[in-house]
């Protein structure tokens, strides 16, 4: 197991290196640049020159790259050209919001998606099945940011059931330890703060959950249909087990294996959804941070964003691989 993890991490290094060189050259080859963006419209040539020197942009490309990599290896992702704060700090400040959102969305997608998929499979070809299938196709074709807007409009603005922006009400004087607001409220015993943060999560989480939900429904349905046709299900029925026991012990348990492992696969959909949804609900997570970095041409932030996302993916990949062998002993990690 240990050797597997080490080998997996070693395989990642050349890819990340290649990605970083590519990004670095690409960023520098473009006109304008962070110095122009930082100074605003129509800077004087002298100010531009000074800014370039300050940011080290007047040196040869390979010197710049060498410096960037040396810092990167020391855990320094660079400094935001807009706020002048370390990029890593900015990321750590914002990532709890995104993780919180992703977790809430995943919980909704699983809790609703698996039963819906299961019942669609049991009623194959009937109305419920048809509705589920066309619904999931419609869900995949609906832009996440429109769904987010729709929820905000109907349940936030119109009905006023849920707050429409941010992570917590501004009047809430909550203590923050981990920056996971719901968790913080529970840890400190500030129940009103935890409740307030949870209520803020509902609409964005439903929006982000839409595509993972559609995928889970389809996976569960296909998987249950496959298991229902297996010999051991017929055997179980033939030997006189009650329908309830057959369903629970034989069908559901085997059908859920592929569904459980798909959770890791959905991280992509979750992160993409979070980027768009955070923008609609003005949640200060990494998605909104990317949006702001785009507006200000903050190169170090953009670069770090891509590298961090790639790294997160590699790590999740590995975790899913390992969890495979734990959930299903037949699949051994080589």
């Amino acid at each position: 197991m240990f050797r597997f993890i080490v080998r997996r991490l070693l395989q990642v290094i050349p890819t990340l290196l290649g990605l970083s060189v590519l990004l670095f050259v690409w960023l520098r080859a473009l006109p304008g640049g962070p110095e122009a963006a930082a100074l605003g419209p129509r800077p004087t040539p002298e100010a531009l020159e000074a800014a370039r020197a300050r940011l080290g942009l007047d040196e040869p490309l390979w010197v710049q790259y060498g410096r960037y990599m040396r810092r990167l290896l020391n855990g320094d992702l660079g400094t935001s050209t807009v706020t002048n704060r370390p990029v890593l700090d900015e990321f750590l400040l914002r990532i709890p919001a995104t993780i919180e959102l992703a977790f809430a969305a995943m919980a909704i997608a699983i809790a609703v998606g698996i039963p819906v998929g299961y019942f669609a499979a049991r009623r194959r070809g009937r109305l419920l099945d048809g509705l589920t299938l066309s619904g999931s196709m419609l869900g995949i074709c609906t832009p996440v940011f429109f769904l987010a807007f729709l929820l905000k409009w109907v349940f936030g603005v119109n009905l006023g059931w849920f707050p429409v922006s941010g992570r917590q009400s501004s009047g809430m004087n909550a203590t923050h330890i981990t920056n996971f607001f719901v968790l913080d409220g529970i840890l400190t015993g500030e129940w009103d703060a935890a409740w307030d943060a949870a209520i803020h999560l509902v609409l964005p989480a439903v929006a982000v959950a839409s595509i993972p939900f559609a995928i889970i429904v389809r996976m569960t349905r296909a998987s249950v249909l496959e298991v229902l046709g297996e010999d051991y299900v017929r055997t179980a029925e033939a030997k006189g087990l009650t329908t309830k026991v057959v369903r629970r012990r034989h069908v559901l348990r085997n059908a859920l294996l592929p569904v459980v492992t798909v959770v890791g696969v959905l991280t992509g959909a979750l992160l993409s959804g979070a980027v768009l949804t955070e923008t609609v609900f003005t949640i200060n997570g990494i998605g909104r941070y990317l949006y702001l970095a785009i507006q200000t041409q903050d190169y170090p932030v953009l670069m770090a964003f891509i590298l961090i996302i790639a790294l997160i993916f590699v790590i999740i990949n590995m975790l899913v691989d390992i969890s495979y062998s734990i959930i299903d002993p037949r699949v051994r990690v080589r």
Binding site: W26, C141, P143, F149, W153, V262, S272, V275
Partner: protein
């Protein structure tokens, strides 16, 4: 099938795997030998396609969309960027649908119906160009990899494995985030959106064409051509490559839907055309955000347009995939 699974490059873990498996399944479809009746796979599939209600509905939606994209600017009742009804727009009041303005006007008094009609052209253009970029670049990379593998030799396999390693890494990253990062680096513009969405789908096409070509290379007609002494290059270019295209065309149809949604998402994030007066569905949706208290229905028109078009391409694409599937072929 054991032989075929040995031909596949392993994707970087289960994350890319689901995507990769879907692609590989599609790649093998057209390589199944024709049935006893002896009809060609593509002809047979086309016959099935014409009878599929999904394909007919999808095709009809796409036909209407393409016609609107072409004639939209000519049948639009007003100029899309003319602020004709600005005198009726007051703080807190934006006129809704009326006989004059079917979909009402927006915050600047522009006719929404006209903007939707003219915007169809942009969406079609972005979708088609992005898909073409992904298709072309993917076909070159996948074609080279597939041919190198098919032509055999250690060197060929090495080339194939290097190319596919890189493609599989990209395949594991979420398409939208890849496209967003790329468009951000390219500077917001319409071209940036097309390139970014196109580049993000390159690995899908590359893997698909490679898989399809390798599946074709094992067919009898290749053996026959080899026995007749046809040169390898000619076998690849004249026989294997054209026969490998059917699954790629299916994928291109499905990609068009994704490309249109992703392009709208990029415009929404502010990565599209910086001139926001130009009617474009993603931008219209983004601008409607600001009117949530005054006239939230402004967001519905462009959103429904995007959903219908994406649904059209998805329906046709799924129907095509089903038609190619030998398990369903009779």
């Amino acid at each position: 099938m054991a032989m075929e699974s040995a031909n596949r490059p392993s994707p970087p873990g289960p994350l890319g795997q689901r995507k990769a498996e879907k692609i590989d399944r599609l790649a093998e479809l057209a390589a199944t030998p024709p049935d006893e009746r002896g009809g060609s796979v593509v002809q047979e599939s086309f016959r099935r396609l014409r009878r599929s209600p999904m394909a007919i509905v999808g095709g009809a939606i796409i036909a209407v969309f393409v016609i609107l994209a072409i004639i939209g600017p000519y049948i639009a009742p007003y100029h899309p960027i003319a602020t004709i009804a600005i005198d009726q727009v007051r703080p807190g009041v934006i006129p809704g649908p009326s006989a004059e303005h079917w979909f009402g006007v927006d915050q600047l008094g522009r006719d929404v119906y006209s903007r939707i009609l003219v915007g169809a052209r942009h969406s079609l253009l972005v979708g088609v160009v992005a898909t073409l970029i992904g298709f072309t670049a993917g076909a070159i990379i996948g074609g080279v990899a597939g041919a190198a593998y098919g032509l055999g030799g250690r060197v060929g396999r090495a080339i194939d494995s290097v190319l596919m390693r890189f493609m599989d890494m990209l395949l594991a990253l979420p398409t939208l985030l890849l496209a967003a990062s790329m468009a951000a680096i390219l500077r917001p513009s319409l071209q940036a959106v097309m390139i970014a969405v196109g580049v993000a789908v390159v690995p899908i096409f590359a893997r698909l064409l490679r898989g399809s070509m390798i599946a074709q290379a094992q067919r009898d007609y290749v053996l026959a051509a080899q026995a007749l002494g046809v040169r390898r290059r000619k076998i690849v270019m004249a026989h294997v490559f054209p026969n490998s295209l059917a699954p790629v065309i299916v994928q291109a149809t499905l990609t068009l839907a994704v490309a249109i949604i992703d392009a709208a998402a990029l415009s929404f994030l502010g990565l599209g055309n910086p001139d926001t007066a130009v009617p474009e569905w993603g931008v219209m949706l983004a601008q409607a955000q600001g009117q949530i208290f005054t006239r939230p229905t402004l967001a519905v028109y462009p959103a429904v347009a995007i959903i219908i078009v994406a649904l059209g391409f998805t329906l046709l694409g799924e129907a095509m995939r089903e038609a190619l599937d030998p398990k369903l072929r009779r």
